[in-house]
Every structure is written in structure tokens, then in C-alpha cells.
Symmetry: C2
């Protein structure tokens, strides 16, 4: 497969596949005479794996770890769970922060009349 085909099958931009090569995340299995990257089915599976992991906002480095575990016969589910748990904790922290922001901002927005006069509780808060 050339890069356009695998990118389509993995449902990601060609640019991204090239980037993953550059950072040694998923390498092509070789190059054609003209220097085109060539990929096999294993690479396709890895790219799809990464796309799914990225959809959870796992960092590229977490993806690298997960991908290592993916093909590691000696992996333990504890290893995998640890990475996923870490991500879950991050998500929960972000959720808590967003909730705080949301409530405070919603309060201010609710208190602002939004008319053509200048007085505004949002500005009062910020200034």
C-alpha cells in the first residue's frame, strides 16, 4: 500500500501518517524505487489502533506505550489498565475544572442583562 491508500483505510489524513513515520510511531515497511513509503496490513492495524486511542485523547506518547503493549505477548492487563486509569483521572480532573468554570461563568452570564447599557456584572467581576 502507498500512503494515500492506507490513510484512507485508517481514516486519517496523509499528513498524519507521514507525521507518525517521522516520530517513529508507525514506520512504513519500506520504500518503493521512487522513494514512496510502502505499508502492510500490520501497519494499517496499528494506525487504526492509534486513531481509536487518540479519540480518547490519549497523548501520542501514551499511544506509543499502548501500541507497545498491543503487540507484547507478555503484557499484563494491569499495565494497560494503569495507562487507561491515568487518562481517566486526567479526564475527571478536567471535568471538575470545567464544571467550576461553567458554573461561575453561567452565573455571571445569567446576571448580565445583555442590553445596550454599559453596566455589566461580568465586567465588574473581571475589573
Amino acid at each position: 500500500m502507498k500512503i494515500g491508500e492506507i490513510a484512507k483505510k485508517a481514516d486519517m489524513p496523509v499528513k498524519t501518517v507521514r507525521y507518525y513515520d517521522e516520530i517513529d510511531l508507525v514506520k512504513p515497511n519500506g520504500r518503493s524505487d521512487a522513494g514512496y513509503r510502502t505499508y502492510d496490513e500490520a501497519a494499517l492495524r496499528q494506525l487504526i489502533f492509534i486513531r481509536r486511542a487518540r479519540a480518547f485523547d490519549f497523548s501520542v506518547n501514551d499511544c506509543r506505550e499502548l501500541l507497545g503493549l498491543y503487540t507484547d505477548q507478555a503484557r499484563t492487563s494491569a499495565d494497560v489498565k494503569a495507562i487507561a486509569k491515568k487518562r481517566l483521572v486526567e479526564i475527571e480532573a478536567k471535568q471538575a475544572e470545567l464544571q467550576r468554570l461553567h458554573d461561575e461563568l453561567a452565573h455571571l452570564v445569567g446576571a448580565c442583562r445583555g442590553d445596550n447599557r454599559p453596566d455589566c456584572p461580568i465586567m465588574d467581576y473581571l475589573g
Copy 2:
């Protein structure tokens, strides 16, 4: 005031104050003979204003707009409310997405035994 003093009073790093000068967000009122930035009380109020707005994760460009409205006698609270509302909608969208991620990942993490065997529903999902 020199940069170190205003940075301390505004509770932000010197680097950040210098950055805000560079992007024309908050400029010093002049320079000393030695080329040191000098700031006045108005600049301090602006920096504090920005710090508070940034705490809501308003983008620097939104801060720029808000700061413009802050000193605009002809502003309307509708202008302010529109910017805040936009940010609120962004926050709510992010919250919804995080909730989806959280639930799905929490489900997978909950289903993973996390022991020393290799089989793992998280890997099954990703692979």
C-alpha cells in the same frame, strides 16, 4: 514600576508580561534609560483583568476584545455578554465531549481486571 514589580502585583510570571507586550496586549508606558520597561497602575489593572479572564480560559484574543470593552465608555452589556456566552457554549461542548469520553473509558477500565494476565477489554476495544 519595572516588570518584576508589576508581575508580582499582577500575580503572573515576568515572561508572561513580556509576552503580552510583544503581542501588543498590554504595553509598557515607556522605557527607562537602560531600556527597562516601565508600567503604571492602569497597566496593572489591565494585567489583573486579563489574569481573571484567562482563568475562564478566554483566549488571548477574547481577552483583547474584553479589554477593549473594559475601557470603552460606549460599550453595551450585550457585547460583553455575547463573548461570555460564546465561551460558555464552548465550555458546554467540551463538557459533553468529556462526559462521553469519560463514560466510555470508565466502562472499559471497569471491565478490565488489571491482573497479570494479558487479556484486556481495553485492548480488545482498541485493536
